[in-house]
């Protein structure tokens, strides 16, 4: 690991947002595919009870199924490998604050934290921006952190900028 590498450091908001967006895309896409598949199979066997049911019922059934599927997706990946496909692509991993993998119960707590963060108009997620350990509310509820698992480094411009700020904070009289 080189000197400037951020490997093992707390992952920030943008990386996590992109990873989350990838996961949402995967969940939505697979849900749509499954919906199409189920519809086609039912059509072939001439089972069309579901298409005759009311729109409200359809929305309720689809919504419940979608929520259960999303929950299963996140809990499965968090518990089994500590990263969802989106997080894996962005080089991120979820661990407990003492560096261990997530248990099933902790994953469920983290998911509940997700729901609370969403209900609070996403403030729980935005908390990552201002928290010293870059934890969202769901992280605090579950006692988890998200870290970089790759040899992460910021662009040269950003690194230089941080270095200047560090120097300014050490020698405030030279700062402008």
């Amino acid at each position: 690991m080189s000197e400037d590498s951020l490997k093992g450091n707390y992952a920030g908001f943008v990386s996590r947002l992109i990873a989350y967006s990838i996961d949402v895309f995967i969940v939505v896409f697979t849900l749509m595919f499954m919906g199409w598949l189920i519809n086609a199979v039912l059509g072939i066997f001439n089972i069309d009870e579901f298409s005759r049911t009311s729109s409200l019922n359809k929305i309720l059934v689809s919504g419940v199924f979608g929520l259960l599927y999303s929950a299963a997706y996140f809990i499965f990946f968090w518990t089994m490998i500590g990263q969802t496909p989106g997080k894996s692509l962005m080089g991120l991993r979820i661990v407990t604050t003492d560096g261990r993998g997530l248990s099933f119960v902790r994953s469920v707590r983290r998911l509940l934290g997700y729901i609370i963060s969403i209900l609070a108009i996403w403030i729980g997620f935005l908390w990552i921006l201002v928290d010293n350990r870059r934890q969202g509310w769901h992280d605090k509820i579950a006692g988890t952190i998200v870290i970089y698992t790759w040899d992460a480094r910021a662009g040269n411009f950003i690194t230089e900028w941080y270095r200047h700020r560090q120097e300014d904070s050490q020698h405030p009289e030279h700062g402008d």
């Binding site: 951020l6 943008v14 003492d98 480094r153 662009g155």
Partner: protein
């Protein structure tokens, strides 16, 4: 010479004799459309037409070959299957199939079943549309045919049709000539381009190495680049948020995350 046919014409296109071609060339010259002139637009047009026709021919030839191969393979499979087990339509799948095989066959079967259904329904819809149109328009057309008042209009219409047939015939003749020209032009252009490209690649080993190296490392490079930009985005977004909320900015890059080593398992 009179009966000599032009080369490179596929079987499904009627061959043009040289004498016919000469005659048609004369017609074109009379129409001040010299087929031998180097008009760029016409050349591009010929390239387009020839490319489309040749591509379509190639596709059809390959499709036939592939279908034949599939038929042979299926015949072999059926011969083998007949000696082992008989599968009747509607019978459950053979017991030796695994679950994943069953699912795969189910999906493939479903796909073709859907295609067959669409085909049947599409034919029925087209037939219905034809019958309906015929039933609606036939009485009207019959009336127009018998009406005395429409006689002058009918004779004018017949004149128009005759003129149209003459023009259509001329277009067909020209189409025959242009098609053969276009095919020849595309064949020549394709061959020349292919030769030139192969020559260029053969003479430039560094280009080959570059292509190899780039294709291997490109995906990793792109991913690393995207990740690096998001790391910069992390820092910028955080800095912006802290400034907006008037919180003290971080003095340095975020420190290591406790005992987590973050190593890939």
């Amino acid at each position: 010479m009179e009966s000599e046919t032009m080369q490179d014409t596929p079987d499904d296109i009627a061959p043009i004799t040289v004498s016919e071609e000469e005659r048609l060339e004369e017609i074109l010259q009379r129409m001040e459309l010299d087929a031998g002139s180097t008009d760029r637009f016409r050349t591009v047009l010929r390239l387009l037409v020839g490319g489309t026709l040749l591509g379509w021919d190639e596709l059809l030839i390959h499709l036939e070959q592939w279908e034949e191969e599939v038929r042979d393979y299926r015949t072999q499979q059926e011969t083998q299957a007949r000696s082992v087990v008989y599968i009747q339509p509607g019978s459950p799948p053979a017991p030796s199939l695994t679950e994943s095989q069953e699912l795969r066959y189910l999906l493939v079967g479903m796909l073709f079943e859907t295609e067959s259904r669409l085909h049947r329904r599409g034919s029925a819809i087209l037939k219905f549309a034809g019958q309906t149109t015929n039933a609606l328009l036939s009485p009207m057309i019959r009336q127009m045919d018998r009406s005395e008042r429409l006689q002058p209009a009918r004779s004018r219409f017949d004149d128009l049709v005759r003129r149209g047939e003459t023009v259509t015939g001329r277009w067909i003749q020209r189409g025959q000539i242009e098609e053969s020209h276009s095919r020849k032009l595309v064949l020549t252009a394709t061959q020349d381009t292919f030769d030139a490209t192969m020559g260029q690649l053969g003479q430039a080993p560094e280009l080959q190495n570059l292509v190899k190296a780039q294709s291997a490392g490109l995906s990793k490079e792109v991913l690393d680049e995207v990740r690096a930009r998001t790391v910069s985005g992390d820092l910028l977004a955080e800095s912006f948020a802290r400034r907006v909320l008037r919180r003290a900015p971080r003095g340095e890059l975020p420190g290591p995350a406790g005992s987590a080593d973050g190593s890939e398992e």
